[in-house]
Subunit: 578 residues, 2 copies
């Protein structure tokens, strides 16, 4: 027996296997996951395993290594989140999300830090040795809402898209703030005196860390898109580039002390559109599948490790400090959401309701990021107290809040997500309205959201697509090719039968009409997964055809583009029929 | 800048990125890969990189770690090879493959070892200190044909299936023999005296190592199949199990000093059939894609590392020893193939031609396995000579033989692989003949290949499928469902029109006929990839329907099975039409 030789990969494989099997186990009994969130069950499994290890070895079980967490477990989850981020609601609410993520997090950090410092002044609690800076440091790590925990809970309760993106977007983007504040306070703790220059430098760092992350991410994302232009002959390694470049963007950002989470999200969101168009359908299925798979296993491992690490002798118990931490976390978050939403609602027509505000405040779950950060603290006397408080806050939020949020959502009748995907007709109308609004904004000189979107779209089609896309205007999917063939055949048939005059004369309306019929027929024979895929492809390609048509567009004139022959063909056919 | 923190994952990612980019680079110029095999180009890139590192640092570049090779780079390639192994030609030629792999390898080891010992006795060569045991040890590592190198070259030259499987199967299965002989001679080298008991124990070990590997692999494969029965609700982690269990089988086998390669191949071949049926089509695409991706990147890394490791000061040059090693490798392999094929041809109708024998002998490429084994040798005076000789043999076989084998195959007009996949008609006929031959063998009491295949098929459908498959007789693919729907509709139409009497009356023939028509129509609209997939699914499902029909089968009586209703329906329809 030569265990030493294979130990490292063997144990890693076994841990992943355990996580996967645990996941299967929960889903075998359908009732369990519908009552308790998976994250709670996984922590519970971890607690049991930690207890067993503790009981057998009589020493604390191994604690989740912060390096392993930040370098290997977190990136897949964030990549998955960024790649599948619904970009429309995200960009529509980007202002609100940033307000929550930046101002809200700072509010929470200082609120929790100062009020805990107040508690420490009470002599009866024996906490006088915890300084203000230490309290602020603790505040900076405990204030951050955790994307992993939020995702795990919110994926199961299906609230409406806007509410989901507000909580989830905040949890992702507050990483930049958390990184800055945490590092700032940690370096302040080690400095003998703090000058006002240091404080200003800290404020400047926000922008560097956040925007630097975005820049690093976008540049890797564009490189990834550019690389996939040249993979035509070796389809099989296409998916690798998506993962490699995203991971490199994360590592590079971490290397320069920027926000890795922000970088990987920017990378994923930036490359998605081009990569999807460049790589084959099979490669894309693989990319999507593997992302989901990795993030799902990472997520499982994190919660199990969280459970395992809880058991042991790392804790110093102090009732008042721990209880007040929970109370302050709840109060300051609730207050922050109320105040910030008040301002947000002043400037928006589509306001955030009271119910939504409650769910945003209540959905501020803490998770493995806090946990890893508290273990990364430099050693000082009260570190074990901080570890205990962090552990309790995480368990409280994941178990109590995580388990009660679903009944609360049902009780309050919070608006839920619509179950069905939008139909092709709806999608086309949304696009049409976008164009219309961009036109109106342009005419009345208002530089709003639609104006910028249209500008970006123009820049994209004029420059980016030409550099980053392989075959610019050729649909690659066989379904689209088949669809076009049928379309042409039908048009010729109509023309030959002389019926084109009676049918709606506008080719694009005809087009639209037919699509819906095809859609209906397909719905009978195909399963929803395939249907959704087809809809997506059709919508994308229909849009491309219509772009050059009569829809209002400042930058193209009808007949200017490469679809002239197509238009001519239709004209000839109509002439014949008349 | 905090490079230390991210160093390990960053460097690994960069190496993989380099490998992937190198692959893209070669395929950008279409002419290059058609002249030079990819493996040669990659070694060349490695040599250049090694040269640069050597030039800059003035010390030998890092050598490929044997642990990294055996634990991380080799398994993906072997898993891919095992999973996509064409099982029909493999099992049809298993006897010949085993003969080459076991007897042929032993022949080569002793042939090369003894003749090199002879060379060492020549005083002019200054090699008298290399003992017989050391020569045999060297023979045991240099005799093994390398699956990675063979695969890389033979994938590009498209020889016929039988020839391919003979060389490739040999290169995979000789691992068991190599492991045993290498470890045996290495332990002999360290023993003061060798008893005859040890020699006998060594012979016994062959069976333990080989059969043990098969057992470990099969048990993990069956567990994997069983696990995928329960993944219905979490499709997204299905693909992981295929990789996890295969890798565990490899690690477990290595842990017990069995043949890891044999284990992972047995695991992959054993699980494939059940896993394919259990997991969703998308999961399966992901599994296939990721296997190809990983193996392709591993393969690239191995050849690049091989190049990098060649540069440096690890070598001791001795012209006669190195030249004679190459000559003996060629001669003994050629002799071995000639002698063994002579015996094989005596017992087979379908003989191996002279041209095929030449390609088998010439295709015996050495690669990274020899290289890793030679670095694992215990330190002794002449280790550097062995390293030099191994490196030269590898470079010689990969460059000279690898580059000339394609022109030689063309020159000799070796039978090539047919380009098109077999049609549904052909597939059905092959299956029909299999049944027929199994019946004939059964009647005349000959326990041949078909008899055992039929037995295995019976055992599989009676026990294994019931335990390992999720939904036993329900096709899951939407294409099959659509096909069945169309089939039923058509049958009813025929019945209503009263045409069923004129059509071929046997339902299975009717079935067959229609399939071919559908096939033709599909061929016009769908691309070959999809077509192949559909053909496979249709063939599998048609077969299942026919199994219970009138084809001869000892173990089922017509009407005994669950398809009674189906048969009844057809009868009623026919009655009506009459």
């Amino acid at each position: 027996l030569d265990y030493q030789h294979v130990q490292v990969p063997f144990e890693i494989t076994l841990w992943i296997m355990l996580a996967s099997l645990a996941k299967i186990g929960f889903h075998l009994y359908n009732k369990l996951p519908s009552v308790v969130p998976e994250s709670c069950l996984l922590i519970f499994v971890g607690l049991i395993m930690g207890g067993i290890i503790y009981g057998l070895n009589d020493k604390s079980p191994p604690v989740m290594d912060s390096d392993i967490f930040f370098l290997y477990l977190l990136p897949p989850i964030v990549l998955d989140a960024g790649y599948f981020m619904p970009s429309r609601p995200f960009f529509e609410n980007i202002g609100t999300i940033l307000l929550y993520a930046v101002v809200g997090t700072i509010w929470n950090v200082f609120g929790i830090g100062f009020s805990l410092y107040g508690i420490c002044q009470v002599k009866a609690f024996h906490l006088q040795d915890v300084s203000l800076l230490h309290n602020l440091l603790f505040g900076s790590l405990i204030a951050a809402v955790d994307p992993v925990a939020v995702l795990a809970v919110f994926e199961e309760i299906h609230v409406n898209e806007k509410l989901h993106i507000l909580v989830f977007g905040e949890s992702l983007l507050n990483d930049a703030v958390t990184v800055v504040l945490y590092k700032l306070f940690r370096s302040f703790c080690e400095m003998p005196t703090i000058k006002s220059v240091d404080v200003f430098a800290g404020v400047g760092k926000f922008f560097v860390v956040g925007l630097g992350g975005v820049l690093v991410g976008l540049s890797f994302g564009m490189t990834a898109a550019f690389t996939t232009r040249f993979t035509k002959d070796i389809r099989v390694i296409e998916p690798f580039f998506v993962f490699l470049y995203s991971y490199l963007s994360y590592l590079t950002a971490e290397m320069f002390h920027l926000s890795g989470i922000v970088a990987i999200i920017a990378c994923a969101m930036g490359m998605k559109r081009y990569v999807e168009a460049n790589i084959s359908l099979k490669s894309h299925t693989t990319v999507k599948y593997f992302m989901k798979m990795w993030s799902s296993v990472s997520d499982t491992l994190i919660f199990i490790f969280l459970g395992v690490s809880t058991i042991g002798e790392n804790h110093e118990w102090n009732w008042p400090y721990i209880c007040f931490t929970i109370i302050f976390c709840l109060i300051w978050r609730a207050l922050g959401v109320l105040v910030l939403t008040f301002f947000v609602n002043k400037f928006h027509v589509n306001t955030i309701t009271g119910k939504d505000q409650f769910i945003i405040a209540y959905g501020g779950l803490r998770g493995a990021i806090c946990f890893s950060l508290v273990f990364l603290l430099p050693d000082f006397r009260r570190k074990k107290l901080f570890i205990a408080a962090t552990t309790v806050v995480i368990l409280f939020t994941v178990f109590i809040q995580g388990m009660t949020i679903r009944p609360l959502v049902d009780l309050l009748a919070v608006k839920k997500k619509r179950e069905s995907a939008p139909t092709v007709g709806e999608q086309i109308h949304i696009r049409f309205l976008d164009h219309l609004l961009a036109g109106i904004e342009d005419i009345c000189g208002h530089w709003g959201q639609y104006y910028w979107k249209d500008k970006l779209e123009y820049f994209n089609s004029k420059y980016l697509q030409k550099i980053l896309l392989r075959e610019y205007d050729q649909p690659k999917s066989s379904i689209v090719l088949l669809y076009e063939k049928l379309e042409r055949k039908h048009a010729i048939e109509l023309a030959e039968a002389g019926q084109l005059g009676h049918a709606p004369s506008h080719p694009s309306l005809l087009n639209n009409d037919r699509t819906v019929i095809t859609d209906k027929k397909l719905e009978d024979t195909l399963n929803p997964d395939i249907l959704e895929n087809i809809q997506e492809i059709l919508a994308r390609n229909l849009y491309r055809i219509r772009r050059t048509g009569p829809a209002y567009n400042r930058h193209t004139l009808p007949g200017e583009t490469e679809h002239v022959e197509h238009a001519k063909e239709i004209l000839i056919l109509r002439h014949k029929s008349l």
